[in-house]
Symmetry: C2
Amino acid sequence: MAFTLRQLQYFISVAEEGTVSGAAQSLSISQSAVTDAIKELESDLGVTLFERHRRGLTITHKGHQFYRHATRILASVSDARRSFGEAEAPVGGNLQLGVTSLVAGYVLSDLLARYRRAYPGVNVTAIEDNGDYLEHLLIGGELDVAVMVISNLRDRVALQAEIFETSPYRLWLPLGHRLGGADIISVSDIVPEPLIMLTVDETEENTGKLLAAFSARPNVAFRTRSVEAVRSLVATGAGIALLPDLVYRPWSLEGDRIESRDISGALPVVQVGMVWRRGSRLTQAARDFIGLAQQQHAPRGRAAQER
Amino acid sequence: MAFTLRQLQYFISVAEEGTVSGAAQSLSISQSAVTDAIKELESDLGVTLFERHRRGLTITHKGHQFYRHATRILASVSDARRSFGEAEAPVGGNLQLGVTSLVAGYVLSDLLARYRRAYPGVNVTAIEDNGDYLEHLLIGGELDVAVMVISNLRDRVALQAEIFETSPYRLWLPLGHRLGGADIISVSDIVPEPLIMLTVDETEENTGKLLAAFSARPNVAFRTRSVEAVRSLVATGAGIALLPDLVYRPWSLEGDRIESRDISGALPVVQVGMVWRRGSRLTQAARDFIGLAQQQHAPRGRAAQER
DNA sequence: GGAAGTTATCGGATTTTCCGATAGCAGATG
DNA sequence: CATCTGCTATCGGAAAATCCGATAACTTCC
């Protein structure tokens, strides 16, 4: 337990700004202090969090891993602070959530845990379905809020959306793949490779568009609805995959390791966020949920100013 | 975000030891340092965490509230540390959990969240039933581990148990109750009061025994299986309740406040823990679960030594 | 009244943290 | 090619935090 909350704060800021100087400015602190903090943190963990770069620094895989924990810790701290904030007007009632399957395991679980902790009186129910159907339910008033991929939201008139996480597409490779050593990977490199396709939410559609933009037809070796299956298939060398970073984990179920790489070029990102019906009066429970989610992954700016 | 992880560590130690000196000794640190840290923490939060007492110090209600958050934060920190500990041998497989209803909402949810985070590959299923039936399933090999109240475990030959939390009984009162102002509350004070009885797990049996030890027959005004109902009934003045501290929350569903008080005298405590079949080879998933739970609420001693 | 136990307080030593300046490096620019 | 710009690493000293030891004040128990 040697590292400090302050170090975590600096680390997160650096990870998000992508540069020490930027983080220092955003924290209104000197640059050397940030450098020291990061160095101290790394030596304490015994892990290199960033790769020093000519122009800024890019986060390591382990750094990314630690980033998740760090944000979680700071969220807990924020909860603790707020817990006896202002009388905590305890709300009861119901909250009807909708969620798409990709988001369910990777985004909603944390969010829901925090929400239940903060508002234990609310009775939460959640259903999982595809995005179109969720939109239908939202418009019909049968759902309060949906957490979903909103990059391709259909009805932007009746529905209001708020992004709270954007996740870039990354390339998943088995360890030792020929592309693993390449300095730069471009889309044309991956076109001939056999591709493992996840057929959940809109990932298939997106990946198809992605490659079509380079006038390439993907060489699809497998289709599956299970992220775990994609991991196993990639790990055992059945192919490579192109998936948003938020579902990436460095190992498969059986323990085989996989690797994830950035792809050069401006590939689109997946936007995860909340959707609710525009103009409809939200219940207190829904407002609280939205507020919590907003503050989960957006508050970096404010957090910096608060200092 | 001003307080420090160190302060949290000291705070937890004081809360558990019940005295600054004891905490200082357990942390192998000077007493004044602990006093300073607590005082700093209190002034930062703007809340008094402890009531200074002639003989040690007792935790405030808000202190208790903060304690929960503090342990959660430190658990997250520990997770972050361990996350890239040693290759993280990723296990798959299944884990069959059993849980009694009281424990499900108040103990298991946190534990399960941490477990899924640490071992995302394991497929967890849980069933909720009464203690006797869980014992039956454990012996039959249909459950890997059960999380339950183990104070009155029947079969201690075939089953092995490990406590990881003990929760004292406390008295729940509506705000402004005549006993709320009393300096000391003894069992004889509460005997004539109408009692709200929770008929879940073994709480009814325990409460009965408790009062019977003072040769008193409880004056039961209500029986219910819902903790929420107990809160509402207590808050609206229908009676008082005698329940383990781990289910205490200071407000009812409707927002009415309730209060909890210590009772003088050595009342028994509820022991929550895990149970598994003695001698049977546990699966890796079960061993991991047990290890995580052990380290959730027991590591204070070790944590102190690690310093 | 004294002994033993507790927490609070204070001054000084030690350690951590921060800052500002400087050096070094890579790319952009003239 | 020289120069400028934007970035990180390093270093010494200042500032702040943390810790310690001693002491005071109080309560309980003998």
